[in-house]
């Protein structure tokens, strides 16, 4: 009988009782279990700050939910590591084992893998693909990704394993639009419920997909457990189970991780790095992301959006304030050596990123001179005044974000040095978003999480994105940029896409509607015994089904095996 390896930090007080229990559990799991040999087996516990929202792919908004649905469901094909979104280069088969383009590229025929099954045993059919697309496009369902699939006209079913997707226009990203955004869901489970009720209906919480993990149980507020789908068409996941444990906040999640209760926590902060320095059980795992944070000015008057902002409507003022901000020092302060500089309105992992673009320098002397020449002269208390108006404005940030709070305080002090009186307005997330959408702020720190495509930029930086449907919170409007972004999204030549995008970014940087603050460093703390695979830039968990634990490093909970609950 194997003695289970004790976790390195033993629970002293309850050790005898728990040890006895563990021995009992270990005895149960020590029977010859096919899944416990080789690379198969193991349990990973993931600490999440916050809780799970939804398990329906079309309704996902948070990254945590996205991780879960990606593990439980499949797409037709997966994007390659290079994040290419033009054509189908780099995409690898999933539910679709191959696909054919029509000669005019107005339709693509997908041939489904005949071995693909839903977790309840039913085969995956072409009608499921059709249902999935229609569901997302259905306004009654209310999917946040509906706007991304407007170019996909419909899916027709040729036979049970062949689905044909029809497009309205031939665009460079049409394959990506359909395959990346539409996660395939089972019609026979969800189809009987009206789309409008799926949000709240019980059937939407069953998480029945075709992924290499399936849902074992979900106790809201306590844990969500997924187990390996042993009969999966792509092979079972190597880990036996992954347990997601929600925590009240960051502190609680970090404590769980460092105490050994959790194996993975994906939002470590720089101050936790020192603690990992000599740790033999766990280490840091840096992973890429597609996020960037800006200090954005509102270019329109919050009280009258048709008029320019009395302070930030002027380009000179924006450029001057940008020069007052030492982005490098702030990044060092907030993120230690982990901080990544931001070179423009894009994360550096994206295909069209360009880190060589000219930047506005940090120069407080020039900043003051520029403000003087713009008519903002220093008043008696040091705050600048022009035409009776003080250079005083608000800085909005969500109270939920610690790093943005940190930056808010740093920015306030930096701007005070050049004569601006900044008032911090930290609000709850709901109010923050509402004010962003209605341009009811002076300045704000916004964090964008982009998807790999180029067309996302139109949402944030084109004139069309100023409405409530887009994310152009600064109300930046430039016909030059509009034209360049249009060209970038309609050309089929990747080199030309990059060139157009570069020129658009250059113009935006010149106009300084925002200060490019930082790319948030994403570092996960993970137990050393867990072997990971390649980490994709948009989703580090993409290949989690291939993560494994060597047999000689397993601890007690790895040996539970795939037995059903007692």
């Amino acid at each position: 009988m194997n003695q289970p390896t004790r976790p390195p930090r033993a629970r002293l007080c309850w050790a005898p009782i728990v040890l006895a229990a563990l021995v009992a559990a270990g005895c149960k799991g020590a029977e010859p279990n096919a899944s416990a040999t080789g690379e198969m087996g193991g349990t990973m516990v993931v600490a999440m700050p916050g809780d799970v929202g939804t398990l329906l792919p079309g309704l996902v908004v948070s990254m945590g939910d996205r991780e879960l649905t990606d593990l439980l469901y499949d797409r037709l094909a997966e994007i390659g590591d290079d994040m290419n979104t033009l054509g189908d280069k780099g995409f690898t088969p999933r539910l679709a084992e191959r696909w054919d383009w029509a000669p005019d590229s107005m339709s693509i025929t997908f041939h489904l893998n005949p071995k693909a099954r839903w977790h309840d045993g039913q085969p995956v059919r072409a009608s499921d693909v059709r249902y999935s697309l229609n569901l997302i496009k259905d306004p009654a369902f209310g999917s946040p990704v509906a706007v991304y699939v407007t170019n996909v006209d419909s899916v027709s079913v040729r036979d049970s394993l062949t689905a044909v997707a029809w497009f309205k226009r031939h665009t460079p990203e049409e394959f990506y639009d359909l395959v990346y955004q539409v996660v395939i869901v089972p019609e026979h489970i969800l189809g009987n419920t009206p789309a409008a009720q799926l949000k709240t209906a019980d059937v939407g919480r069953r998480g029945i997909g075709s992924g290499r993990f399936r849902l074992a149980r979900w106790e809201p507020g306590q844990r969500l457990e997924i187990v390996s789908d042993t009969g999966n068409y792509r092979g079972r996941a190597k880990l036996d189970r992954v347990v997601f444990v929600p925590s009240a906040d960051f502190n609680a999640a970090v404590t769980r991780f460092f105490s050994g209760e959790a194996d993975l926590f994906d939002q470590l902060r720089p101050e936790n790095m020192a603690k990992l320095a000599g740790d033999t059980v766990r280490h840091a795992l840096r992973y890429p992301n597609l996020q960037y944070a800006t200090y954005a000015f509102n270019l329109v008057d919050p009280k009258q959006p048709s008029r320019p902002h009395p302070i930030f409507g002027e380009r000179a003022v924006r450029r001057a304030l940008t020069m007052a901000i030492d982005r490098v020092a702030m990044a060092r302060n907030a993120f230690d050596t982990l901080g990544l500089p931001l070179h423009g309105p894009f994360p550096s992992s994206i295909a069209v990123a360009d880190t060589t673009l000219p930047q506005i320098p940090y120069d407080t002397t020039a900043a003051r001179a520029l403000l003087d020449s713009a008519g903002w002269l220093a008043g008696p208390d040091g705050v600048r005044v022009k035409n009776g108006r003080r250079l005083a404005f608000g800085l909005m940030s969500p109270s939920s974000s610690a790093s943005r709070h940190q930056y808010a305080v740093l920015l306030q002090a930096a701007l005070r040095k050049v004569g601006a009186d900044v008032r911090l307005e930290e609000t709850d997330f709901a109010t923050f978003v509402a004010k962003q959408n209605t341009h009811a702020f002076d300045t704000e720190i916004s964090l964008f999480a982009t998807d790999p495509s180029v067309s996302g930029f139109k949402q944030t930086w084109s004139t069309a994105g100023i409405s409530k449907d887009g994310s152009n919170f600064t109300a930046y409007s430039s016909p030059v940029v509009d034209a360049l972004l249009d060209s970038a999204t309609t050309t089929f030549d990747p080199a030309r896409t990059r060139a157009y995008a570069r020129r658009a970014f250059e113009t935006i940087i010149e106009d300084a509607p925002a200060v490019w603050l930082y790319q948030p460093p994403t570092v996960a703390g993970i137990a050393r015994r867990i072997r990971t695979t390649n980490l994709r830039a948009d989703e580090y968990w993409a290949d989690m089904a291939d993560w494994w634990i060597p047999a000689d490093q397993r601890i007690a909970r790895d040996r539970i095996g795939l037995q059903p609950l007692p």
């Binding site: 020092a329 702030m330 060092r332 302060n333 305080v409 306030q412």
Partner: protein
């Protein structure tokens, strides 16, 4: 009965004398005086400005040293300076809020007790309903409405949720006194009865106020811990703890020093309050003791 009325004027002097005999109150008063002095003299005691970020790369998060006895925070601000100036903020919020709430509570209590009838019923129903909701949730809800608050608004808000217990207390006192001979006589004569009601109220009022100051300091600290207290870059003891809330193990000085300041000050308030209460009249305990307990956040 009239002896009590004449004692009103020397009441204050008598109370002070009895309190001073109690060693607890002597120590507590000295401590409180020191804290208040430190708060007043803050600019003289430190060369730094509480909001000054000295060097955001090299001087951030330093452990306590000779140059910075309480260390620096993640924004490279000197913590000792912030604790000293924080005393100003925390104490002024506490005193102002308590003064406001006690005054308002006395007003409402006297009116309810004296006028009686429908007015009394309505007022006390309101008080009962408000007391059912934990103070904390009430404040959180209001802060959610108005976003972050200035120090003044925060003070008014804390005062606004703190007057209920005082009003109940005062109303009870008023009821007792209302029907006494000299008050009835005063009313018949047309002179104001307040002169007779107020002195009886002042005693427990002072006790309640002293203890309330301590409670408000704790409440403000709690609110700041939740992130809904004073706005940056203003320093209050609670907000300094909040700055270091997520790094308690690393930056212990951000939690320990303001925390100690809170404990010492509140301890002194409570000790003084206890001494005052004992000096006042041991028989009045039940009412004031329960009021001080329910006044907690």
């Amino acid at each position: 009965m009239s002896a009590r009325a004449t004692r009103a004027t020397s009441f204050g002097a008598l109370l002070l004398a009895r309190t001073w005999r109690d060693p607890r109150s002597r120590v507590a008063s000295v401590v409180l005086a020191l804290v208040a002095l430190a708060a007043l003299l803050a600019p003289l005691l430190t060369p730094y400005d509480p909001a000054a970020q000295l060097d955001i790369v090299r001087l951030r998060s330093l452990a306590p040293s000779l140059a910075h006895p309480f260390g620096t925070d993640p924004y490279s601000r000197d913590v000792l300076t912030r604790v000293l100036f924080g005393a100003r903020v925390s104490l002024s919020i506490a005193f102002a809020a308590v003064a406001l709430s006690i005054s308002f509570g006395i007003l409402v209590g006297v009116v309810a007790g004296y006028v009686g009838g429908m007015v009394d019923v309505v007022l006390m129903r309101l008080v009962d309903a408000a007391l059912a909701i934990p103070r904390l949730l009430l404040i959180i809800a209001v802060v959610a409405l108005w976003g972050s608050l200035s120090v003044a608004s925060l003070t008014v808000l804390i005062a606004g949720v703190g007057w209920f217990t005082v009003s109940r207390l005062v109303r009870a006192e008023t009821l007792v006194v209302r029907d006494r001979d000299y008050v009835v006589a005063a009313r018949a004569l047309g002179t104001s009865p307040w002169r007779h009601v107020l002195p009886n109220v002042v005693g427990p009022g002072i006790v309640n106020a002293t203890l309330a100051v301590g409670n408000v300091i704790l409440l403000e600290a709690g609110l700041s811990y939740l992130g809904i207290g004073v706005r940056p870059p203003t320093a209050s003891w609670g907000s300094i703890i909040q700055d270091g809330a997520e790094r308690v193990s690393d930056l212990w000085w951000l939690t320990v020093f303001p925390g100690l300041a809170i404990v010492v000050t509140v301890f002194a308030c409570n000790a003084l309050g206890d001494a005052l209460r004992d000096a006042l009249d041991p028989r009045q305990l039940p009412l004031s003791a329960s009021e001080d307990l329910v006044h907690r956040p």
